[in-house]
């Protein structure tokens, strides 16, 4: 990472600052690495570079093709039909006036298909993270163990994280479908944690290629205990980060094309963790009039 990048603050450290946290790797003194000039995706140290052409990576299969045709045409038909009902499949009066919308609720095994769980196993660490349905198939339980011993590849310095991220929603023919939350301004979660500090990541649709890893973050502090916790996070509090580093040029989260939401745990404490989520919804809080919580100062402020 370049000097400019590493001199930005790392996001998960701030979680611990107020709680009394590590994201990914911080490359040891390699000042200008190739990864900054052309933004390549993360390549695990030690793995040889794949020199395949993009068309060589697709595998062609007849049964997969047939299944794809069935699925995509069904989605296409649904899209045509729901247009007659109203925008986004809801009657227009509901679309205009709704104040609360439940975006994800975990009632049944198919709700878990929409989520991807990963931990630092991918970079060679030893944490584990699993997701399963909670009791009575009514909630989602994300549990596992964190271990912050960094993998021994010479490059990675910190480790010990796990995340659960929602999958990108797809319309017919694998087009991206975005959430439109412009009529809402608060994220409402019902969770039951064990006292560990989590971080919520929202990623939106971007235009330029190097904005691909732009994520808007905020903290989710759990109280612990047997009672459910209602957490209301206004979208104006989310700050912009890129690859785990808070950026200088902050702007508020644009709600018209939201792609995914995710939960990350990266406090540097080794041990088991669990987080139970009942539902995730968005609502409009008329009492909240703040547009953005962070002022933007000059680019080269005087000392």
């Amino acid at each position: 990472m370049s000097l400019a990048q590493i001199s930005r603050l790392s996001v998960t450290q701030l979680v611990l600052r107020s709680q009394s946290h590590h994201l990914l790797s911080s490359v040891y003194p390699l000042i200008i690495s190739k990864r900054t000039v052309i933004q390549e995706p993360y390549r695990r140290p030690g793995q040889p570079k794949e020199n395949k052409f993009p068309w060589e990576k697709i595998n062609f299969d007849l049964s997969k093709g047939l299944k794809g045709i069935k699925k995509n045409f069904a989605l296409l038909k649904k899209e045509f039909v729901e247009r007659w009902v109203g925008p986004e499949g809801k009657p227009i009066i509901e679309h205009m006036l709704e104040q609360n919308r439940v975006v994800w609720e975990f009632r049944g095994a198919e709700s878990l298909e929409e989520w991807t769980v990963s931990s630092d196993r991918e970079i060679g660490g030893q944490s584990e993270a699993y997701v399963k349905l909670g009791r009575n198939n009514n909630t989602c339980l994300l549990y596992g163990t964190l271990r912050s011993t960094p993998p021994r590849d010479g490059e990675t310095r910190y480790s010990g994280y796990c995340t659960m991220r929602s999958k990108q929603q797809l319309a017919s023919f694998d087009r991206k479908k975005h959430f439109d939350w412009t009529s809402f301004n608060t994220l409402h979660l019902r969770v039951r944690g064990d006292g560990r500090p989590w971080m919520i990541n929202i990623s939106c649709e971007t235009f330029f290629a190097h904005q691909k890893d732009d994520i808007y973050n905020y903290f989710l502090y759990t109280r612990g205990g047997p009672y459910w916790q209602d957490v209301k996070l206004p979208f104006s509090k989310f700050f912009l980060t890129h690859r785990g580093r808070i950026q200088d040029d902050q702007h508020c989260l644009w709600l018209d094309k939201v792609n995914t939401i995710g939960f990350t745990l990266g406090d540097k404490v080794d041990g088991p963790f669990q987080l139970e989520i009942d539902f995730i919804g968005v609502c409009k809080d008329y009492a909240h009039t703040e547009e953005f919580a962070y002022e933007v100062y000059k680019r080269n402020p005087e000392v």
Binding site: R8, R17, S18, Q19, G225
Partner: protein, 440 residues
């Protein structure tokens, strides 16, 4: 220039050291770079010590001929037995006195940063300032715009940034001394100074963002820790804590020492009411241990709960109109809520059954929890008539619920439980008669 203002500010804070009048005059000049006299390259004015510097013992005199290429050895040699802040400071002094040009200071600083946790000084801002003082001053400041553009002295800048990054990792807030040092070493536009500015912008914003803060110093006494954590999870300000047993050791009949663990419980008046209304035919469960993390410590708590009342048995008690005379608690209006006024989410309310009490204990086996239940019985006499089941497995802790509940305590063994990871469930039935005998 603002850096002169910082220096002046620092003077007013700490200037009681033995300095000559000449030095004082020098400081009041506007810009240090334009001074003609001898410049303090290697020893920042900002870090002048209050007491006169004692001569540092050169333990390495004999080994001066051998160049210490690996800087870690320096730490091992100087601080063999005790690793404290004083010895750490001494190592840094040895290094600074060793060479006027500070050869190898970057490697030394990296090694020192790695060794800090061993010496226990990773959260101390004065130690970081002292380490920052190892850099020679004013050499790395760029003198024109081209040097500023092109990462002047990149390795040193990176080292400075890594030092600040370690401060960020441990949540240490830098102070004005850090700022002055960074100015003198890297100038106002270098990367370390930008990192410092970012630290000073974001840290205060997120310092108080936790709605359930945990104090920096948690109580050491397990009973106090239990009280604190029970208050935290109780979610009710009226809840009362009772210590049913303090930790003590006792001698058995055969002369063996038995340690009694502490038992601390909490219950709020609304929970007492709920328990009083509980149907004695339905059992209550003691479940646990559930983990609760407080910063780096994990404590375990147990709860007493019951299954949710099936809808046919739910009794809707009408509001007592005499409870509140200011306004009516129930209105029989025929108004409809519009779509725009819906304030609740369209999701079914999860009813997991009431939680009647919580407790924390060191050693959570059935005997200890039995003691807790008997202690609870004093305020909740109905517990004597209700069958209590113990579910003490050590797998993933989720509140378990019986899928098919059959009434009657004898049939509890056939309950099907949802799967958990390593389940070693112990379910034991407690008949009400046994409870009475224990009470006596």
């Amino acid at each position: 220039m603002k850096c002169a203002r910082c220096l002046f500010q620092l003077q007013n804070l700490r200037w009681f050291g033995p300095c000559s009048a000449v030095a004082r005059v020098r400081l009041l000049q506007p810009c240090p770079l334009q001074m003609q006299e001898l410049r303090h390259f290697h020893h920042s004015r900002a870090v002048l010590k209050i007491r006169p510097t004692a001569p540092v013992e050169f333990i390495e005199d004999k080994e001066k001929n051998k160049k210490p290429i690996v800087q870690d050895d320096l730490f091992e040699r100087v601080a063999k037995k005790n690793k404290t802040k004083a010895t750490f400071n001494r190592v840094v002094d040895v290094f600074t006195k060793q060479d006027v040009r500070r050869r190898g200071h970057v490697e030394f600083i990296y090694a020192a940063l790695k060794k800090m946790p061993e010496f226990g000084v990773e959260k101390d801002v004065t130690v970081y300032n002292k380490l920052l003082d190892v850099f020679p001053k004013e050499v790395f400041i760029p003198r024109n715009f081209i040097q500023t553009m092109f990462n002047h002295y990149p390795r040193q800048q990176e080292c400075g940034v890594q030092l600040l990054e370690q401060m960020e990792n441990y949540g240490v807030m830098p102070n004005v001394e850090t700022k002055v040092l960074l100015l003198q070493i890297f100038g106002p536009k270098g990367h370390p100074m930008r990192k410092y500015q970012r630290l000073m912008y974001w840290f205060p914003k997120f310092k108080h963002v936790n709605p359930y803060p945990v104090p920096l110093q948690l109580p050491e006494d397990p009973v106090d820790l239990a009280k604190f954590s029970l208050n935290r999870i109780a979610d009710d300000l009226d809840a009362k804590i009772t210590v049913y047993q303090m930790p003590c050791t006792d001698l058995n009949e055969s002369g063996q020492e038995i340690t009694f663990p502490h038992i601390v419980g909490i219950q709020s008046p609304s929970q007492i009411d709920l328990l009083a209304k509980h149907n004695p035919k339905r059992p209550v469960f003691v479940e646990g241990p559930f983990p609760l993390w407080l910063k780096k410590i994990c404590v375990y708590y147990y709860i007493l709960r019951a299954d949710p009342i099936p809808p046919e048995e739910k009794v809707e008690e009408p509001y007592d109109p005499e409870r509140c005379f200011d306004y009516p608690l129930q209105l029989d209006l025929d108004l409809d809520r519009d779509l725009g006024d819906e304030e609740n989410f369209d999701v079914e309310d999860l009813d997991e059954g009431p939680v009647f009490a919580m407790c924390m204990t060191n050693h959570g086996d059935q005997a200890t929890l039995n003691q807790w239940i008997s202690g609870l019985q004093e305020t909740n006499p109905i517990l004597g008539h209700i069958p209590t089941l113990f579910r003490l497995d050590s797998g993933t802790r989720e509140l378990q619920v019986s899928v098919d509940f059959k009434p009657g305590p004898n049939q509890e063994h056939q309950e099907s439980k949802p799967e958990t990871e390593e389940r070693t469930a112990e379910e034991v039935e407690e008949q009400p008669q046994i409870r009475h005998s224990m009470k006596q």
